[in-house]
Structure formats: structure tokens, C-alpha cells
């Protein structure tokens, strides 16, 4: 908002008064005059202004007259001062602004009919508003279009040099991929160093470009804005829950846009703490899977070795009949179900109800099991809550952010902008503990590189350091002295020198980081894959809670322990009780009152009191022949879990495998029955983002072919089995959820959570904490020299994004192992060389890619691709408490081929 952002949100500037068009207005000193005028509801034309960055003042449109000055002044770069008298309207100002438009138009190509921005162009609007009909001395730039980038085309003939693209990239996103360059007598926007653009491709520059100078290659020249139907929906890729506009023409998706645009450029910089309205590369350019040719359009029924198309009625009948048979012959516990966390809340709810009441089994799980449940189980156990504690606003305003094992700029790019804002605007100390040189580590004040898999140990080191340095919050000592003493004695088992040796970080660093985190008035912990998807994930989250607790984080405003999630509705899956250990709410499954409540509400007995089986147990029992039927909704365990899990073998033992997916996945290829499901763009419902915001998903297209909504299919099977799920519309399901979980939707706002560790600290904490701190170090004892991690890429999300041709163009499967430059040299392999990677599980031949963000002694491969099957090299370890399978990290040897 202000020209110079204040470094802390709590400092207030002096209030001043000025007169605008005869009205007296009071505002803060130093605020841009343009902001003051626009907040009065007056619109002064401006083309280079956007509230998300500092005023730039290049377009010369926002002219106003200030008393005492002869010439009009630019209101955006002028600061409001006491006693100013301003006039914003009048013939003379109109004429001056018209001159400015004419100046821009005189070097503008006027190829509007061809231009993609036609009808959605600020310069066009300005020309109409200011009645520009004749141009004297118009000249052409005749600059060839820059089509070097694979995503964006730069047509600098159309550029008005407003600098919005450069400013948003630099100020807000902190990527700084664009610059002005004087070329051929004109100032042009080029990628840094006049190279082909190679950045995160978030496309926010495209969104703010007021003319058609930056255009989208994936939809170039195929539309005009008035042909498109805009549907506001929620992105289906990660847990950030960004709002996006899916723009469709007839039956195809043409482009995806976002609320961030030059069309809504008036706002308060303070508002951006809730998000800037932009998107990331996946959201903006990864839409092609929606109307992909590979989509399933009709149900498939297995006949011999082939899957042949069958009519819906026949397929549903077959499913129902065989489920009834299996239930009758082997009992309900011979049936299990898996669902993806990309489904809507309503579908997840119907799924668990279908499994628990119609089938009568508690063997159900979702993809939240791959990691998020570690976090949920830990905070549920320790703090009585079931999701992350802070909002994005808290992240931005934090003074210290401890990011452990979370490569957030890759996994959750839009939420990571909040942390970048904390760094840039509020000068927060950001401590990044990671096994890769992540983008955030480059911006962070305290980048701390550790060896893969030692993030948890580092956290324990921090706890020890806090205790050693006596940084304990005074309220903690008073509240739970017994627990604190127990923690102190337990932490004696952690030797800081050992931690330093194991992790690779020095003891001084550990002390310094601990001090910064403990002393910050607003301290936020953000953990990610490095914690929840590595062995002892559950224990490591508990250690983080210990750290937060002893430093008094739970008493500080806007502070807490958080995680970001990989799939769009993992939080919803937990809230809807799609896990054997939870009922909707979530409440613990062992809670008999809750079970009674749901039995009454559903009019059917909630499945037996015995605990159900989770993902890994389901797979094991399939193999053992105890589970005879598996219902898989959108999940793809064959392609996700390593071969050593024996998923394919387990599935082949089944008497019935029902798959329901938009695509014929590896798992669906083994199925007896495949139902075609819809993608998010055809669905109606809600998803819950990681922050707890319940947001709408709205249908932008009709279901493709004969594909159907997931819950329609479930209701269909249930009806076939003779027990009805009484839903006709999504609203029916929402009404039931509202009744059972009052306030769940909460008008799309996150419900505040109150973390209270008291009960946890009093009941059995002393006994458990000792064991937790006794296990230290990486007990693998492997002789293999390299750590290999399966990483998530910015350009992909799970396996879904590999169906989006745009993203595959940006980031194809290079079939290359990412190695550090040093390792490349050591092994003596060039860029095009090949290596053989061997682990205890097997070996694979791969290409090589030097990646500066990979640390020496480590290597990485994207988890999104199975060709070659690198995932099979990784052993699977299962968490003893949460049954989360860990399969992202292993030790390997690399040899040159």
C-alpha cells in the first residue's frame, strides 16, 4: 500500500488530512495519492498501476492537479501529504490524459483484430474512454515476436512499457525473471539477459499485462474473450486451494485465468496476506487433462484378458451383484476401499458412508495416508486439533518461520508467496532446513542444509539447544513443570555434536537457529515432506510440537505448527473421516459416543467396533487373500508404491477390483470393472484447503462422454446392492454434512483452531517422550554413498499432471537423475552421460542432469514419472503408529555406464 512498506505490521504511520475534489480525506502519511483517491471510490485511469507492488509511474495516465503546481502530477508516485488540495477531474485533465493515451497508441500496432487481448485490453478501453479517433505521426516498431519461450510469447510491438510484468515478478513473486532492455531503439521487456524465458512459468506476468504484449502460447489466437464462458472454481492440484477461472468454449477448455488481473488492480497491500489471486504453472497451464483424448468415456468390464466397453446399467449391476456375493460369502471385512484426496468433500463423505454402512467395513483409506495423516495424527494427539494452526496471513506477518523439509516453492507455489512476502515486506527471519538448496533457501536469512532424512534429528537438536540455552518460555515452566522435566531428561539423550555430525549442520548453527526461533514474537513452524514422509514422521512432528511448546509458540499470537499438503483435498479427506481411525469431524473411531451418533444419523450401524485397516495393511491383506474385493476411487497404488510392496501381485489375488478414474491408470488396467469418473472441472461440490477454507468447485463443462460424478457412481452401486443412499443433488449431501458437522462450511472461512497441549502433557507424556528421544541418527548403516530422494517438481502434482500436455511440454520426463555438479565431476559423467543407480532393491540405468539445487552426496528423481521405474529402488518402511508408508528416500551407489 504505502510507497515504502513498513517492516513490521504493528507500526503505524501518522494520520494526515488532505482535500480531494473538495472533500476532506484523512489517511496515513506517505501513502500513494492514487490509493487515497481510489479508496474514495473515484477511478482515475492508470495503466501501470497494480496494488500488489510499489507504484512505477510509467504510463502517465493517473494525472491529477495539485494546488500550487502548474502542471498535473502523477498521482501514483506522489505521496499523500498534509494539507494537499487535489482535483481529479476536469477538461484540462481529460485533455492531458488523452495526450498520454495518444502517445501510447502512436507506437502501438493497432492489430487488435489479431491480438488475443482484443476486448480485454486496457489501452483499448482508454482509447474509447478518451475518444481517441485520429492519430498523427503514428509509427511502427516492427519488432519480431519473441517466441523462444515454450509458454509465453512476447510481442513487444504491443508493449506499452508499463512494467507491471517486471514489477510483479520482482516485488511480489521474487523470481525476477524479466527485465527492460533497450533494443532496436525501443525499451523492451525481455527475459533476464535476453535469453529464452526460463522461470517458474506462473504466468502472473501474463495476467497483469494490460495489453496483448505477453500472450499464452497454449491458447494463442484460438479465442476472443467474448466467446469464453468463465467458471470460478478451485484448483485441483495442491492444497493451496487457489481460485481459478476455467474459461471454456463449447466443450473445450481454452485457458485458465485467475482473479489476479489488471482488471482488479485496486486494493490494499494488506489484503495480499490472504493471497494475491495469482496462480502457479500447474493451475494456469496444466488444464489439458480435463478434455484429454485419453479420458475414459464409458464403463469397462473385464472379459478374459480384455476390458471391453459395457453399458452403465450392466456395469453397475455387475459391481453390486459381486459385492453382495463377496460380502455374503466372506463377510464385510473382506472388502476394502481407497479414494484419492482430489475428490470433493461430498464424494469423500459419501465414500466413507458407503464403505461403513452399505458394505459394513472400516477398511478404507485415502491418499492423505501418504504423509498428511502423520501431521494430523500428531496434532490430534498432542493439541486436540486436526489441521495446521495458522492462516496465510499469519505466515506473512511472522517474524520467524522455521521451514523444515518443505520445498514449498515447488510443492505449494502460491502459498509460498506468503513466506516470500514475509521475507520481503516484513523482513522475517526464515530458517530453511532442507536436504536441497531450495528456492526458498536462496531467499532465506538462515538456509541450513542437512543430509536427507536427518530433518527430524535436526529438530531434536533444536529442542536440546533450546533447553541448553534456557530459551524456555516462562509460561511453559509454570504450566507443566513435570512434562518439562521429562523433556529435559529425555533430551539428554540427544548429543548436539552427534546431531551436527549426522545432519551436516554445525552446533553453532543449531544454537543460532534455536535462538532466533525461540525469541521471535511471532514464530511459525512449517513442516513438509522432509518430516512427514520420512521414517519416524509421526515422532518428528511430535518433536516439532515439543519445540513449539517449550518456546511458548502456543501462547504467541499468529504462531503455531503447520504443514502444507500435496493434494487438493487431503484435509477434506481427514475431516470427512476417510481413514480407519477417524469418523467425520474428525473424531477418533474408537469414540463410542461418536459412533452412536453417526449410527443414528445414518440409520445403519456403523461398521464393527474393531479398527479397520489402512492402506499398507489393505495391500498386505489383499496379497494374503484376506481381502477379496477392493474399491479404488481415483487412486493408483500400482504406480505410486514401489514394487517391493507387491501391489500388482496383491491386486491379482482379488476376486473383484473396481476402479473409478478419469483415466485408465496402471491400477485400472488390472481391474475387473472400470467406471469413468469426472475431473474437477465437471464436478459440483467443495474442497477444503490446507488452511481449512471450504471452497466451491463448480462445473465448467458437462461430463465427458458417459463419465459420471464419483458420488453418483457410489450411489448407483449402493442402490444396486439394495440399500439406498438418499442423495439426488450435491446439496443433499451438503445438508447432511451441515447437520452432522455444524459449521463445517463456515462460509468458506477457516474456523479458528485452539491448540491446547495441556491434556497431552499430563497424560502419559512423561513415559512416551523418553523413548522418542532415545532413537537418534540414521540407523540404516548402508555402505552406499549417495542419498536418493524422490522429489516433487514445481511443474507436476502426483501423476495427474502428467496427463496435462502443457505441463509435459514444460517439464517432460527427462529420464535423468539430478546430480550435484560436484558429483557429476566426481563420477566423470557429462550432461548426456548415463549412469547406473543401484540400491538394495535393484538397479536402473538413467541419464544425468546437473542440478545446482542438489547437494553433494545426494541425488534426486521426480516422483511423478515411473519410466524408468526409479521408485522401485526405494524400500518401504511403515510407521509403527500411523501406518504411513515411507518410500521417498534410499541410499544408492552410482556408477558411470
Amino acid at each position: 500500500m504505502a510507497l515504502k512498506p513498513v517492516t513490521t505490521p504493528d507500526v503505524e504511520a501518522a494520520t494526515i488530512q488532505l482535500s480531494i475534489d473538495g472533500e476532506t480525506v484523512s489517511t496515513k502519511q506517505g501513502v500513494s495519492l492514487y490509493d487515497v483517491i481510489s479508496r474514495m471510490g473515484k477511478i482515475v485511469p492508470a495503466m501501470c498501476y497494480h496494488y500488489t507492488f510499489d507504484p512505477f509511474g510509467s504510463c502517465g495516465m493517473c494525472l491529477v492537479l495539485q494546488e500550487g503546481k502548474k502542471a498535473p502530477v502523477r498521482s501514483c508516485t506522489a505521496k499523500a501529504a498534509e494539507g494537499m488540495v487535489i482535483r481529479t477531474d476536469g477538461e484540462d485533465l481529460f485533455a492531458a490524459r488523452k495526450k498520454a493515451v495518444e502517445k501510447h497508441l502512436s507506437v502501438h500496432p493497432l492489430d487488435c483484430p489479431v491480438c488475443d487481448a482484443d476486448g480485454h485490453c486496457e489501452l483499448q478501453d482508454m482509447a474509447f474512454q478518451h475518444e481517441v479517433t485520429n492519430l498523427a505521426n503514428a509509427k511502427q516498431k516492427n519488432i519480431p515476436e519473441d517466441t523462444r519461450s515454450i509458454v509465453l510469447d512476447f510481442n513487444m510491438n504491443r508493449c506499452i512499457a508499463c512494467g507491471e510484468c517486471i514489477n510483479i515478478c520482482k516485488d511480489l513473486l521474487r523470481i525476477d525473471a524479466l527485465q527492460f532492455m533497450k533494443k532496436g531503439g525501443f525499451t523492451q521487456v525481455v527475459a533476464k539477459g535476453d535469453q529464452a524465458l526460463d522461470c517458474e512459468f506462473c504466468g502472473d506476468c501474463l495476467a497483469v499485462c494490460p495489453v496483448g504484449a505477453i500472450t499464452n502460447k497454449f491458447s494463442k489466437y484460438v479465442y476472443k474473450p467474448w466467446q469464453l464462458r468463465k467458471t470460478t472454481t478451485t484448483c485441483n492440484y495442491c492444497g493451496d486451494g487457489c481460485q481459478l477461472y476455467v474459461e471454456t468454449k463449447d466443450t473445450e477448455v481454452v485457458r485458465v485465468t485467475s482473479p489476479l488481473s489488471w482488471k482488479n488492480k485496486w486494493g490494499d497491500r494488506g489484503d495480499t496476506v490472504d493471497g494475491h489471486g495469482g496462480l502457479c504453472v500447474r493451475g494456469r497451464f496444466g488444464f489439458q487433462f480435463i478434455d484429454s483424448k485419453e479420458r475414459l468415456t464409458e464403463p469397462l468390464l473385464r472379459q478374459g484378458s480384455d476390458l471391453v466397453p459395457a453399458p452403465w446399467i450392466e456395469a453397475l449391476d455387475a459391481a453390486a451383484e459381486r459385492l453382495v456375493q463377496i460380502k455374503g460369502r466372506y463377510g464385510p471385512d473382506a472388502i476394502a476401499g481407497l479414494i484419492t484426496a482430489r475428490c470433493t468433500n461430498e464424494e469423500l463423505y459419501v465414500f466413507q458412508k458407503f464403505m461403513r454402512t452399505v458394505l459394513g467395513t472400516n477398511n478404507l483409506d485415502s491418499s492423505a495416508r501418504y504423509g498428511h495423516l502423520n501431521f494430523v495424527r500428531a496434532v490430534h494427539q498432542a493439541l486436540g486439533i486436526s489441521r495446521m494452526m495458522n492462516t496465510s496471513a499469519d505466515m506473512t506477518k511472522a517474524k520467524a518461520i522455521l521451514v523444515v523439509g518443505a520445498n514449498v516453492t515447488e510443492t505449494n507455489p502460491v502459498a509460498s508467496v506468503r513466506i516470500k512476502a514475509a521475507v520481503g515486506t516484513y523482513k522475517a527471519s526464515v530458517i530453511v532446513v532442507d536436504s536441497m538448496q531450495t528456492n526458498l533457501a536462496k531467499l532465506a536469512s538462515h538456509p541450513t542444509m542437512v543430509k536427507p532424512g536427518t530433518e527430524g534429528l535436526f529438530v531434536k537438536g533444536l529442542v536440546r539447544s533450546v533447553l541448553d540455552q534456557d530459551l524456555i518460555d516462562s509460561r511453559v515452566a509454570a504450566q507443566a513443570p513435570d512434562a518439562l522435566n521429562a523433556l529435559k531428561s529425555a533430551a539428554q539423550a540427544v548429543c548436539l555434536e552427534t546431531v551436527a555430525a549426522e545432519t551436516g549442520a554445525s552446533v553453532e548453527t543449531i544454537h543460532e537457529v534455536a535462538k532466533i526461533f525461540a525469541e521471535a514474537p511471532r514464530a511459525v513452524v512449517l513442516c513438509g515432506e522432509g518430516i512427514v514422509r520420512r521414517p519416524h514422521g509421526y515422532d518428528n512432528v511430535l518433536s516439532l510440537i515439543d519445540l513449539a511448546w517449550v518456546t511458548g509458540t502456543f501462547h504467541k499470537p499468529g504462531s503455531g505448527v503447520n504443514t502444507f499438503v500435496e493434494e487438493s483435498n487431503e484435509q477434506g479427506a481427514v475431516d470427512m473421516g476417510v481413514a480407519p481411525e477417524f469418523l467425520p469431524g474428525p473424531v477418533g473411531y474408537e469414540d463410542s459416543t461418536a459412533r452412536r451418533k453417526f449410527s443414528e444419523a445414518w440409520g445403519m450401524d456403523v461398521a464393527s467396533a474393531q479398527p479397520g485397516q489402512s492402506l499398507v495393511e489393505i495391500i498386505e491383506n489383499c496379497r494374503a487373500g484376506k481381502i477379496k474385493a477392493l474399491y479404488v476411487v481415483g487412486e493408483n497404488p500400482v504406480a505410486t508404491l514401489p514394487k517391493s510392496c507387491g501391489v500388482e501381485e496383491a491386486l491379482s489375488q482379488l476376486e473383484l477390483l473396481i476402479c473409478q478414474d478419469p483415466f485408465l491408470t496402471e491400477t485400472a488396467q488390472c481391474a475387473h470393472l472400470v467406471f469413468p469418473a469426472c475431473t474437477f472441472a465437471e464436478k459440483d461440490g467443495t474442497v477444503t484447503n490446507q488452511e481449512g477454507k471450504v471452497q466451491f468447485v463448480r462445473p465448467a463443462l458437462d461430463p465427458l462422454g458417459q463419465s459420471a460424478l464419483d458420488w453418483h457412481i457410489m450411489v448407483g452401486i449402493a442402490n444396486g446392492m439394495g440399500s439406498s443412499l438418499p442423495y439426488e443433488t450435491t446439496q443433499d449431501i451438503q445438508a447432511e454434512i451441515r447437520k452432522l458437522l455444524p459449521g463445517y462450511y463456515n462460509l468458506g472461512q477457516p474456523q479458528p483452531v485452539a491448540a491446547d497441549p495441556t491434556a497431552y502433557l499430563q497424560n502419559g507424556y512423561q513415559d512416551a517422550v523418553g523413548a522418542r528421544y532415545a532413537t537418534n541418527g540414521r540407523a540404516d548403516g548402508s555402505e552406499r554413498p549417495y542419498d536418493m530422494t524422490l522429489i516433487q517438481l514445481l511443474y507436476h502434482s502426483g501423476k495427474l499432471s502428467t496427463k496435462a500436455s502443457g505441463l509435459m511440454e514444460i517439464s517432460p520426463n527427462t529420464k535423468a537423475l539430478r546430480l550435484s555438479l560436484e558429483a557429476c565431476e566426481q563420477l566423470g559423467v557429462a550432461e548426456d552421460g548415463r549412469v547406473r543407480v543401484t540400491s538394495d532393491q535393484g538397479s536402473v540405468e538413467l541419464g544425468v542432469e546437473a542440478d545446482p539445487s542438489v547437494l553433494p552426496g545426494t541425488c534426486a528423481f521426480p516422483e511423478h514419472f515411473n519410466d524408468p521405474p526409479v521408485k522401485d529402488l526405494v524400500p518401504v518402511e511403515v510407521d509403527p503408529v500411523t501406518r504411513v508408508p515411507y518410500f521417498k528416500l534410499t541410499r544408492v551407489t552410482i556408477e558411470k555406464v
Binding site: 500496432p109 493497432l110 492489430d111 487488435c112 489479431v114 511502427q140 519480431p144 479465442y223 476472443k224 467474448w226
Partner: protein, 191 residues
């Protein structure tokens, strides 16, 4: 009321006066130019500003004028136009219509699309003979529209002139908008 006398009635009957009266009209027309003409052997001269079937035009070097800007679709009050455009990969910055449909059964012949066209690719011709037993053929596609334009190019140019849209070929090339690719005159071969 004045009724004719019995005598006058008798005279009129004897002299067949009524027939003479009628024959007078008939004979008068023998010396007239005919009011009707024998369509389809004879055809009417149609004014240049006549709004007949729509056609798409090419420049005289054979290049399609249409840039697929879709302004005609936006201007059409009966919503009978559909344009699907794409980038012309062979030429930088060039856009063209891959498909172009006019549902002539819906068209109200208002001429707004012609006015909206920034490159004067659309024009109305003097063609009106497209009656057919198969209504489906009345959804004119791009090929048909260019055919009409080619056959009636002179009429189309006269239409544009009559509606003050385009004076001559030179103006069609150096038109209101500057496009990255200038359009040249048709090359006259030396042979």
C-alpha cells in the same frame, strides 16, 4: 342514388360495352413495357447496395483476407456466425479462421458483420439463388463462403464501395489497421 335508366341498360347490353371497357385496358397494355419478367430466363438488375448472400473475400494475390478476429460473430444480432481461429504457423503473428460458418437460414441480412469486419473480408453479394430441398446445405461453411466470394468478387467490391467501406484494391491493402504482414499486389507473371 342515381340508377341507370332501363334504356341505358338495354343499350349497354346490346353494344357489349362492358367487354369493350375491359378490352380497352388490355389493348392499352399491348403498348406498355411489361411489368413482370420471365424469371429465371430473365433476371432483374440489382442495385449495388443490395444485401444478398454473404461471401468471404481474398486479396488479389489470392490470400484470405479474414484474420479470424470474430468481430462479425460479436456483431451478429441473430447469432448466425461462428468463427474458429488459429495461429497461422507459416507466417509470424498471423491469425486465420480455420472454420467459418454462417447459418444463412438465421441471417437477417442486416449487414452488421460486413461493417464490423476490420479487413473487409466479408461482403454481401447480389446472389440470392440458393434455395434447396436440403436445409443442411444452408449452413455455409468456409469453403462455400469463399466460393461465393470468388464468384461474386466484383459485386462484393461494389457493395463495399456503395457502403463506403472500401474504395479500391489499394485501400484494401493499406487498410485501417496495420498488420505485421503487409499484403502485396498480385504478381503479374512475365509469360
Amino acid at each position: 342514388m342515381d340508377t341507370p335508366s332501363q334504356t341505358k341498360k338495354l343499350f349497354d347490353a346490346v353494344l357489349f360495352r362492358e367487354i369493350w371497357k375491359a378490352m380497352k385496358v388490355t389493348f392499352k397494355h399491348m403498348f406498355h413495357r411489361p411489368m413482370t419478367f420471365e424469371y429465371p430466363r430473365e433476371k432483374r438488375t440489382i442495385p449495388d447496395a443490395h444485401r444478398g448472400a454473404l461471401g468471404l473475400l481474398c486479396y488479389d494475390d489470392g490470400r484470405e483476407r479474414c484474420v479470424g478476429c470474430d468481430l462479425c460473430e460479436a456483431a451478429c444480432p441473430s447469432r448466425c456466425i461462428k468463427v474458429i481461429s488459429e495461429e497461422d504457423k507459416s507466417m509470424p503473428l498471423q491469425r486465420y479462421a480455420t472454420e467459418f460458418y454462417i447459418d444463412i437460414t438465421k441471417c437477417v441480412f442486416c449487414g452488421y458483420c460486413v461493417e464490423a469486419c476490420p479487413v473487409n473480408a466479408l461482403a454481401m453479394t447480389k446472389m440470392y439463388e440458393y434455395s434447396t430441398p436440403d436445409k443442411r446445405t444452408l449452413l455455409f461453411d468456409k469453403r462455400r463462403l469463399y466460393e461465393i466470394g470468388e464468384q461474386h468478387i466484383e459485386d462484393a467490391k461494389k457493395y463495399l464501395y456503395a457502403h463506403n467501406q472500401e474504395e479500391d484494391d489499394d485501400e484494401s491493402r493499406a487498410y485501417r489497421y496495420h498488420f505485421p504482414q503487409p499484403v502485396g499486389k498480385a504478381e503479374v507473371s512475365d509469360s
